[in-house]
């Protein structure tokens, strides 16, 4: 065995006790859906994990009615203190079942166990803990005294962080006194089902949390349901646009967390070792399937070659493969459709004059894989500098002055995240001021915290999740 080689260290799946098939979770009951059943497969092996129900319009209606009843009869009238206690209970159970959830998430999504274990699941528990404490303190959210919940919240979440996105949606909604109907993504419904079991375990009143699985039509039926008061969506800008259109003229409140094309700006005085780690974390975390990924690297021209050399060296040490192996850095792409999209966009980038580089790397025979890739010589007008790739592909552009860096960073219809790397604090703050992005990370990247608002400018959507501002999205001013 040579340097940088490791023996495999796979996490055992014996901790899981999964069912072969899962139903919908409506009004505290497991009910079969009216739509066709579908299977979720493990992206790293293409093996079926379990089958799931598709909710048709009737099921969605039943779920919304269950949520309405719970809002009217139990969750709405309940004291903030008691609501908080239920959320604390859930947070504790999430911590106690952390390892099981991490394995299930990694299996279903394809992301490395290192990330589910150290990032996703701890954040999920933290989110519930944080929001639990808000439940009896809503007068201080910033909407004046006695703010009111909207009622029934319809929530549709993506496949890149299945359980984390569930916690970002469910925890603040429940803390504010809303009841929820949530639709997980059709390729990653597994941990939502485990969450339903956790709600049962916590003794959460029936109908407070309802889960409907299915594809796009189920989500469309949910957000369009006339008895829904609030819609929260995380996903693509295209679908966000459709939802905004569908909700025009209704009384429904809407928050959207959509796509991004984050700029990661590296100045010539940046601490390079940290910057290289930040660049890698910014684009290869979760196989780049992150809406706030630092997918456009803007490097000051004078250090371009040095940064590229070091980056390639670092990328050569990334371990791609079995997501359940604790040594794995980069796991599987979530679905064959997503793999096809990434492949197509990279081909376009090369056709438009970009030069692609990837480390030598042997990929598993089964499953969906894409080697970490960096594309240099990218122009601001290139397709891969403008379109969200949602994969482990970094586009590299250069700049000479801070003004040019800011102009290039802002030259996008998106505005979700940005990174700034420089040793000069005054410059970091001045650049952060001018970036049109909802989150700016200075000398770090891809950090999340339930106390910290997250969300976009421009076509990256509206509203914030996390912190006081995130709680406001689930409340209206009291009369």
């Amino acid at each position: 065995m040579t340097f940088l080689e490791y023996a495999p260290a796979p996490e055992s799946t014996s901790i899981l006790s999964l069912r072969d098939d899962y139903s919908l979770f409506i009004g505290g009951e497991w009910v079969a859906g009216g739509g066709e059943r579908f299977a979720s497969i493990s992206p790293s092996t293409e093996q079926q994990i379990a089958t799931f129900s598709s909710a048709d319009e009737g099921d969605v209606d039943a779920a919304v009615r269950a949520a309405r009843t719970a809002f009217r009869e139990t969750w709405g009238p309940m004291s903030g203190r008691d609501r908080g206690k239920y959320l604390f209970r859930i947070a504790r159970i999430l911590q106690e079942r952390a390892r099981e959830l991490a394995v299930a998430e990694s299996l279903d999504n394809g992301k490395p166990i290192r990330e589910t274990r150290d990032a996703d699941v701890p954040l999920v528990a933290q989110w519930f803990f944080h929001c639990a404490g808000w439940a009896d303190k809503l007068d201080w959210v910033g909407l004046g005294a006695n703010p009111q919940p909207h009622g029934v919240a319809a929530q549709v979440i993506p496949w890149n962080f299945p359980l984390l996105m569930l916690s970002w949606k469910v925890a603040p909604a429940l803390a504010a006194g809303n009841t929820v109907v949530l639709k997980p993504a059709e390729t990653t419904p597994l941990t939502a089902m485990l969450f339903a079991e956790i709600c049962e375990q916590a003794g959460l009143p029936a109908g407070v949390v309802n889960l409907v699985t299915g594809a796009g039509e189920t989500g469309a039926a949910l957000v369009r349901h006339p008895d829904v008061d609030k819609v929260a969506f995380t996903g693509s800008t295209a679908v966000g646009r459709e939802i905004a259109k569908a909700l025009a003229g209704t009384e429904k409140k809407l928050t959207l967390e959509l796509g991004g094309k984050g700029a990661n700006i590296v100045f010539d005085d940046a601490p390079l070792d940290q910057a290289i780690e930040g660049i890698v974390d910014g684009i290869f975390f979760n196989q780049g399937q992150v809406c706030c990924a630092g997918s456009r690297l803007l490097v000051q021209e004078s250090i371009h070659d040095e940064v590229m050399d070091r980056l390639k060296e670092r990328m050569s040490t990334l371990r791609v493969g079995d997501p359940l192996d604790k040594n794995t850095d980069v796991g599987a792409i979530n679905s064959s459709e997503q793999l096809e999209r990434i492949t197509r966009l990279v081909a376009t980038g090369i056709a438009e004059g970009g030069e692609a580089w990837s480390p030598a790397c042997e990929l598993p025979k089964e499953g969906y894989w894409f080697v970490p890739t960096v594309v240099t010589g990218v122009e601001a007008s290139s397709t891969i500098a403008r379109e969200e790739i949602f994969g482990p592909v970094l586009s590299v552009l250069t700049f000479r002055t801070p003004d040019e860096a800011i102009a290039k960073a802002n030259n996008s219809p998106y505005g979700l995240s940005a990174g700034v790397w420089t040793d000069k604090g005054s410059r970091a703050l001045a650049v952060a001021d001018k970036l049109r992005a909802g989150v700016v990370w200075t000398n770090t990247f891809n950090k999340f915290d339930p106390t910290s608002p997250f969300g976009g400018y421009k076509e990256s959507g509206y509203g914030r999740e996390g912190g006081r501002q995130g709680m406001q999205a689930y409340l209206k001013a009291g009369k």
């Binding site: 905004a244 703050l429 049109r436 200075t442 770090t444 969300g455 421009k458």
Partner: protein
Amino acid sequence: MATTKTQTKAATRTSSRLDVPKTYKLFIGGAFPRSESGRVTEVTDARGRFVANVAKASRKDARDAVRAARKAQSGWAGATAYNRGQVLYRVAEVLEGRKAQFVDELRLTEGLTAARALTQVEDAIDLWVWHAGWTDKIAQIGGNANPVAGPYFNLSVPEPTGVVAIVAPQSSALLGLTSVIAPALVTGNAVVVVPAASAPLSAISLGEVLATSDLPGGVVNVLTGDPAELAPWLAGHADVNALDLTGAGDLDWVELEQIAADTLKRVIRPEPGLPPETPQRILALTETKTVWHTKSRL
């Protein structure tokens, strides 16, 4: 021509001297151009007598206004909160000195009594003063430090959304206009506003006040004309970040909201009963920016 006839009629109102009727033009980029389309609308008083011709803005004027707003926005947002507060207070001062003109215009076009017109003008002045005081406070109630679980300095602050297109309330022309423009200006947005179609005079006169109140040219742009004609262009314009439909209750605002969805604009829906003096109006036209900065471990 009709104009000659009506001007004669207007002239006979004051017997001692021949008065000078004002030509009301658009307010774009700090200047007062006519509409590029050459169109005007005749404004009459409550008794149907001619008062003035008002420029009728076209799609091209709307585009020019958006361009002027975009150009001015970063400078206005970059001014200190103290400076923006001074300018907004200056608007109140200048308006106070020109009260009589606004009272006359409101009496003429909205048929108000002198007393009610005066109350409305004074309420509008007070609303400018109220907003002037918010510029250096809104970040303190809209933003905060976040105690994240890690070695980071983490701060969330409200920032202006950018260029805001507004359909102003169709009643109480001056007060309605102030209630939508001022909150947008507090944090540093630039504005393209379509004032009440029935009473456009005070909107252009307000433009003259703004032009002499140290507000940088282009920060507020006033497009008199037909809201139903102009609003869809503004709702669909890709360089407009937010659409305030507060005064669009009479239009097909559902359609406007659908058009705005194409570019995922922030939309403020008509919400009757929302008091003019609430920080929620100001915060509705902001984005929250969160900056994380590493802290060393000592």
